[in-house]
Structure formats: structure tokens, C-alpha cells
Amino acid sequence: MTVMTKGKITDVQELKNVAKKIRINILHMLTQAGSGHTGGSLSAADVAVAIYFSKMSFNPDNPKWENRDRFILSKGHAAPLLYAIMAEAGYFPMETINNLRKVESPLQGHPCCKHIPGIEVSTGSLGQGLSVANGMALGLRLDNNPAKVYCIMGDGETQEGQIWEAAMTSAHYKIDNLCAVVDNNELQIDGPVEEVMGIQPIHDKWEAFGWHVISIDGHDMEEILKALDEAESVKGKPTVIIANTTKGKGVSFFEDKVEYHGVAPSQEEFDKAVKEIRNG
């Protein structure tokens, strides 16, 4: 088999550097666009970078390569994160990131598979990604295809009933070629998740649904890599990583701020943020 990635990154420091670059590009895109979701793009950045650049096999020149690992951003509003990663991976030219949310741009406000091959399925209406991930995992299993499926959800998103329908399905069909991640930043739009509609105890809930559950610091690259390895080794049941994260991570004045869920940085904020990320 030909090598289908640019070469996976195993060095922790190198991954951290990629994550910094991704964070800066997320903020650049959002600032250019003047709208979009800042907090949730930054909170999931470390986990998503680790999945894409250390774990997944894929080929940007042949996005439909059938043995590729699949990634689904169920929390589709974090689209800037996905676009920054895909640009870095070489799915489309880096200049494209200047066109987030612009009319007729492939970089739609929420991920659209029609416009960008390599995006597996369109998302944006929350609660649906895990079901699609299950379907893909089942399809791959039928074909004896060893590819894996990754799916990132928001913590607020897990208030959707369909998530729990899908959680039952993964366990019922013993789907172990799937690794789900909950970006547990404890915030949603209207406030803290526990105030809007409590989801705790989430560790116990997923376990009760038949999942192997790993709780980690979602910004500690070493812990993330360890969890992803563990997920791969667990057989006979699905694995979910509860990534305990900070919304807006990496930029002090965005961190844990509910109001930066769906607000883009101003130019001034962007300049300050880039300095912080570079020095951080």
C-alpha cells in the first residue's frame, strides 16, 4: 500500500506547534469573515489536530481513497477548525481560508461535503454526526476495511436525543472502529451546560450506555495521544473520549466566555490573540 499521508506526526512538541498554527488560522478566518464560532473552534483544536495529524491516514489528492480514516465534525459550527486543519493538510490551497462564509465560497458557514471533497458529510444541525459515524463504521466493517471513524461532538450537543439513540446503536452493534469525542467545555449558547440542561454525570452516562469511557485534559497533547491509542486498542465496544476543555482555549480574553461562542474577533482582538498564542 502506498503511503497516503504526508507522514504522521508523532512528536508532541511538533503537534503543539501545529495546534498553534491552526488556532491562529481559525482566528484569521473568523476575523476575515466577521462572524462565526470562536469558542468551540478553539476548545476542540488540540484533540482535532491530534486526530488528523497523528492518527488518521488520508490522502488529500484522493479524498475518496477508500481506506482513508473518516472524520466527522458533528458540532459543525466549529467549521473554522476543520477548514484550518484541512488547509494545513493540503486539501485545498491555504488562500482559500480568506473566504470563510463568503458568497459562493467552498468554506460555508457550516461544513458542506458538496463543496469540499474530504468533508465526509454536511453538518450544522446538531446531534446527527454520531449516527452517520456509526453507519460508516458498519459499512467499513462489512467490507473488512480496517479504516477508523472519528467523531467530535459538543457537550451541549449531547442534549440532543439522537445522540443517545446513536450511543445505543454503537454499543448494540459493538462498533469498535469508531472513536467519539465529547468536547466538554461546559458551555453552550445560553450559558453553562449545567445551568441550561444538565448532562452530568456524563462519564457514567456513556458507561451505562455500554461505552468504554476515557476522561482526559483535552488540551494536554500527551494525554490526548494516549487516549487515542487506548481507543484503538479497545475491542468489542465503542470508545468515547471526554475531553475536558476550555471554551476559547489559547486566548485569555476568550477563555470561558460564553459570549464568544458565536462572535468573531475584531482586528484588534485578533492582533492581541496572535501574540498570546505565539508566546503561549
Partner: protein
């Protein structure tokens, strides 16, 4: 097909002896049979159901091909998403449950992961319309065509009988993209000719009439033909078109029908809002305005009762088609 046919052809098609030798068969039974045959021929076909496999008739496939059958439990939203995922790995998923739950409960899922993502999912719903009968309004989908027709990328098909259902299933398995097929619970008479083969987007013309043309789909095709016979005895030339693909509509045939008679009557086991009647009116109003009468449920829910009683209650009968046409021709 799609063109006015000779009178000779018409008498041949309305010949009772041909249809009477075949017993009525429910379209869902034809679906079950078609799936079984496809399962044998097509290893890429997978089937999903939501705890109704005995009723939707996917159970035959489930028993024969257990590895390719996924019972999703009573979780229609998850069923649609899972079907989309399977399609994305190259499978051809057929996802089935009752029409109310398939299209209503999972509409946003169909919109996002099937239509917007343009995945190769076949939604085959059974128990549509009021002929569900005794279970009552909660189980009688009278809005499903409207719901599915409004979605970009979706093809909407309503087969008239068992043979057409089998032909539809064998055709859409090779058609890329989302398809909604609307099937029923009750047994329906066989109306399509033996040599008929379904073509997506192509209506089947039994006859183009000079006085009126009845555009029907599903169980109303048989009623339309009976109505045309009654009218013909009274000297009224009523044509019958089986518009089994409601989206994309066969505009050419509809135009021919409207031009020939200047009066169109639609008949469907669905609300007159947004269904076949709605689709026909939208096209004609913009392209060839002629009077249209729409037979179907009139912005109401169904209720419990026997299928025959309910059809009568809602005026979905050959008799009401006849009455409606006579009334319209008087004006």
C-alpha cells in the same frame, strides 16, 4: 408511454379480464419480495428498519441476509443518519418504517444527511395515507409527499401497484442519490400492464382524454380508471395518467394532458396541500393555466375506520372523481 395512445390500446388496457386474473397485492409485499431478490444479486444492498420489519416487509431480507440488515430499534432519526453513513461507504441502504415516522420524525435528518449531503439513501416508507385504517390519524401520513417534495435533491415516487413497486425498487437501486418511495398497507388491485417498466420522471399514460384528464398516483390510479370507464359510458372522454414520479414531475405529459382537455383532476391519498395536486397546480399555473380540481384529504387529519370507509369519508373514490368531473364540466 408519455404520449397519447390510440383508442385501440386503451380498450386493451381497460379490458377487465386482464386485471381480474391477478389478485390484489399490497405494495409493501411487493417491496419485501423485491428486496429479497436484490439481496441475492446485489451484495452492496443493506436494509435498515425501526422495529417494524414485519409490517414494512423488510423481515424477509432480515432473515436471509442478517449481516446486511440493521434493526435500529424505535429510533428513526438515528436510522436515517446511520443509513447516510452506510451510503457514504458505498452501500445502497434501504431504510424503512411507516411513512409518518420516516418523513416526519426524521425530517431534519433527511434534510441534512441525506438531501444536503446528497447521499445514496433509499427511503421506502409503508403505511402511507388513510388506508392504514383502524390505527387512526397518528399513523396515517397525509403530508409525507409534501415534506419530501420540498427537499432539494429528493426524488419522490408513488407506485400504483405491486408490479410497479417491484420495477421501482429494481430501478432506484441503480439511481444515485436520495429517493423517497411511498407504499401502502392495504392490498391494491393490479393496474399496470404486464410489459410495463418504470422510468423515473416518466408518467404512464393509459389514455389522454379530450374532456378531462385525471392525474393520479398510488391507489387512486385504479379509481381513476374506473371513473374514466363510468364517464365514457356517458359520453365523456376522460383520460388517465399515472404520475408515479411526483418529483421530478413529468411536465411534458402533464402539458399534453392539459392541452388536450383544458381540465385536470388530480386524485391522491394525501392532503391536497403540497402533494400531487399541489405539484400539478404549481406547474400548470405557471405554464398552462387550466382549471384543476384536487381530490385528496382537504386539510384534515384522518381517523379510525376501515380503509374503504375512510376513503369514502374523504371522497377518495371513483364515484367522487366522476361527480367532481361532471360538476366541473357543467361550468
Amino acid at each position: 408511454m408519455g404520449e397519447a395512445q390510440s383508442t385501440e390500446h386503451r380498450t386493451q388496457n381497460t379490458d377487465k379480464s386482464r386485471t381480474e386474473e391477478k389478485k390484489p397485492v399490497a405494495t409493501r409485499d411487493a417491496y419485501g419480495k423485491a428486496l429479497l431478490e436484490l439481496g441475492e444479486k446485489r451484495p452492496d444492498v443493506v436494509v435498515l428498519d425501526a422495529d417494524l420489519s414485519g409490517s414494512t416487509k423488510t423481515i424477509g431480507f432480515a432473515k436471509k441476509f442478517p449481516d446486511r440488515f440493521f434493526n435500529m430499534g424505535i429510533a428513526e432519526q438515528d436510522m436515517i443518519g446511520t443509513a447516510a453513513g452506510l451510503a457514504l461507504t458505498g452501500k445502497v441502504p434501504f431504510a424503512s418504517t411507516f411513512a409518518v415516522f420516516e418523513t416526519g420524525r426524521a425530517w431534519d435528518q433527511i434534510r441534512l444527511t441525506v438531501c444536503y449531503s446528497n447521499t445514496n439513501v433509499k427511503l421506502v416508507a409503508t403505511h402511507s395515507g388513510i388506508t392504514v385504517g383502524e390505527d387512526g390519524a397518528s399513523h396515517q401520513a397525509l403530508e409525507d409527499i409534501a415534506l419530501m417534495r420540498a427537499l432539494p435533491n429528493m426524488t419522490v415516487i408513488v407506485p400504483a401497484d405491486a408490479a410497479e413497486t417491484e420495477s421501482v425498487i429494481n430501478t432506484i437501486v441503480d439511481q444515485k442519490g436520495p429517493v423517497y418511495v411511498r407504499l401502502g398497507r392495504a392490498k391494491v388491485p393490479c393496474v399496470m400492464p404486464d410489459d410495463y417498466k418504470f422510468t423515473p420522471g416518466k408518467a404512464f399514460v393509459f389514455h389522454i382524454g379530450k374532456d378531462v384528464n385525471i392525474v393520479a398516483a398510488g391507489i387512486t390510479v385504479d379509481m381513476a380508471r374506473k371513473a374514466a370507464e363510468i364517464l365514457s359510458e356517458e359520453g365523456i372522454d376522460a383520460g388517465v395518467v399515472n404520475m408515479s414520479t411526483i418529483k421530478p414531475l413529468d411536465e411534458e405529459t402533464l402539458l399534453t394532458a392539459a392541452q388536450s382537455s383544458g381540465l385536470i383532476v388530480t386524485a391522491e391519498e394525501h392532503s391536497v396541500i403540497g402533494g400531487l395536486g399541489g405539484a400539478v397546480c404549481e406547474f400548470l399555473a405557471e405554464n398552462y393555466p387550466v382549471p384543476v380540481k384536487r381530490i385528496g384529504t382537504q386539510d384534515s387529519f384522518g381517523c379510525s375506520g376501515s380503509p374503504a370507509e375512510l376513503l369514502k369519508l374523504h371522497g377518495i373514490t371513483a364515484e367522487n372523481i366522476v361527480e367532481t368531473i361532471k360538476e366541473a364540466l357543467k361550468k
